[in-house]
């Protein structure tokens, strides 16, 4: 595991503010302030080895108000949403949802270091907003051409195989009431920005 360089913690009001900000932007009640730093989360995590910080470290950083470091960490992006940590956490912290929050904040401030995960999420979300459904072919084609061109030779047999077995839709499915959906989503985005 690569442990990133971190600046010394600052104990001012800003630390409390960051913790509160993360909590407020999390779906459900995050219970982040209840963390007792036991490390059960990192010990349960299948991708902890690939994280800059274990979830426990990340939560300590959030409490210390180390906003920039926390948002630059790759930890939320490496979270696979398996919820092992969530069911094991003795304090009931909504760990996976906090990871989603941190991704969203990093995306908003463009603090992420690896642009591949946010790009993938961006293309996915764009399609859902346009069509109302996800479109696997469009998503993967665009993503692989942009970021994984070297993987294409390996991927070609798979793509052909999926196509021959009727598992790839050439054209996107569109829902009927796309305008209704778009009105809902843009209203929600306005509300998200004022909060």
């Amino acid at each position: 595991m690569v442990v990133a360089q971190v600046s010394p913690p600052v104990t001012t009001n800003s630390s409390v503010r960051f913790l509160e900000e993360v909590s407020a932007k999390t779906a459900g009640v995050s219970r982040l302030e209840m963390c007792i730093q036991c490390g059960t989360c990192g010990g349960s995590c299948p991708s902890a080895d690939d994280m800059d910080h274990t979830p426990r470290m990340l939560f300590a950083m959030i409490r210390a108000g180390m906003k920039d470091e926390a948002l630059r960490s790759n930890t939320p992006w490496m979270c696979v949403s398996c919820y092992h940590c969530v069911v094991r956490c003795p304090q009931g912290v909504h760990i996976a949802d906090v990871m989603y929050t941190l991704k969203g904040m990093a995306e908003h401030t463009k603090s992420y270091r690896d642009k591949i995960p946010p790009h993938f999420a961006g293309v996915f979300v764009g399609q859902v907003e346009t069509f109302g459904r996800s479109w696997e072919l469009g998503l993967t084609a665009r993503h692989y051409l942009r970021h994984f061109i070297l993987r294409l030779p390996r991927m070609a047999p798979m793509a052909i195989g999926l196509f021959l077995r009727g598992r790839i839709g050439i054209l996107p499915h569109r829902i009927r009431q796309r305008e209704q959906l778009q009105a809902i989503l843009s209203r929600a985005e306005e509300l998200e920005r004022v909060s």
Binding site: W77, S81, M99, G104, G161, G166, H173, L185, A188
Partner: protein
């Protein structure tokens, strides 16, 4: 006849087509009526929630609002994709837990003339419906072609048993529901230790090394337990293990060929339904050689595999007790 509202999710007529096809046939056989909700939209998978909270939950809640309108008599909303199920269940539960979120989502829904009262639609996964509403006795009664001779590794993945916002699962890490269902179909069920470990989800798209490693752990373990195939309840798990197995083999220089099918496909086969209509053959890692074992006894399978190799005793090992007329090792009989 019991009626359910049905949310298929985007993969059901795409990469998870075999799931959609087989569950339709199986539910028909079991007398479950699945009424697909009108003009549903994508649940946002694990992507939208990581971009913007309120739109992500408004997106999911649009489906819940449509379902609550379509409800005639308190029917639950059933999803078969684990991620769709979890998103629907989470949105419902968090709108209750955080009234502020619920309010914001409803203000947004109002822009499209919709409204959703959290708690008004019961959200369930197909596996749980089959286990609890249909029951194993009813499943057994429909089995005409038991899966005897087929060794299966039940693989649930993460998002069905965890985080379980509606408290439907007794065990979040080692539930035995899928095991019992497969046993009822007559299959030889492996006690698969990684049954709720992660398949990597979208990692195959954004961090392939991480994703392929997680797939490898699962396939290695299934192979180690001598499973003929893996059985899943989730289209994401299926495509990761099925379609990315080639890339995984290339990455780790392995030669795994572990098929993975949906539990509804095996139910259909055991019910005597047409394998083609059950989507058998849509998988990239061909399941048909493994499925040929169905109906053959263990002796026939062993005979096909050839004579078993007798293990040579280790020369450094302590001598084993032997019968009186047996000559000790290394000694020539007079």
């Amino acid at each position: 006849m019991s009626r359910y509202l049905y949310y298929p999710g985007c993969s059901m007529d795409g990469s998870g087509r075999a799931y959609g096809e087989s569950l339709t046939g199986v539910c028909e056989q079991l007398g479950l009526v699945l009424a697909e909700i009108e003009d549903w939209n994508c649940c946002g998978a694990t992507e939208y929630v990581g971009v913007s909270l309120s739109p992500a939950y408004a997106l999911i809640a649009r489906n819940l609002a449509i379902a609550s309108k379509a409800k005639q008599d308190g029917e639950p909303l059933v999803a078969a994709c684990s991620a769709c199920y979890l998103n629907l269940a989470k949105a419902d539960s968090y709108m209750k837990e955080r009234p502020q979120l619920g309010e914001r989502v409803n203000v947004a829904l109002n822009a499209g003339g919709l409204h959703y009262d959290p708690g008004s639609v019961e959200i369930r996964h197909l596996l749980e419906v089959i286990m609890n509403d249909v029951g194993l006795d009813q499943v057994r009664a429909n089995v005409v072609k038991p899966l005897a001779g087929l060794r299966v590794a039940p693989y649930l993945g993460c998002m069905l048993p965890r985080p379980d916002p509606d408290h439907r699962w007794k065990n979040h890490e080692r539930p035995d529901d899928l095991d019992r269902l497969l046993e009822a179909l007559g299959a030889d069920v492996v006690d698969f230790p990684l049954k709720t470990e992660c398949c990597g989800g979208h990692m195959t798209q954004i961090a392939p090394k991480v994703g392929l490693e997680l797939i490898k752990r699962l396939v290695d373990e299934a192979e180690h337990h001598k499973a003929d195939l893996m059985v899943t309840v989730c289209p994401m798990c299926q495509i990761n293990i099925d379609a990315y197995q080639g890339e995984m083999n290339a990455e780790f220089h392995t030669k795994h060929k572990m098929p993975i099918v949906f539990f509804t496909q095996l139910m259909g086969l055991a019910f005597g339904l047409d394998p083609k209509k059950m989507g058998i053959g849509r998988e990239l890692t061909d399941a048909r050689p493994a499925l040929k074992k169905i109906g053959k006894g263990p002796q026939a399978i062993a005979a096909e595999a050839g004579p078993a190799h007798r293990q040579r005793p280790d020369k450094r090992a302590l001598p084993m007790p032997r019968m009186a007329d047996e000559a000790p090792a290394g000694e020539v009989r007079p």
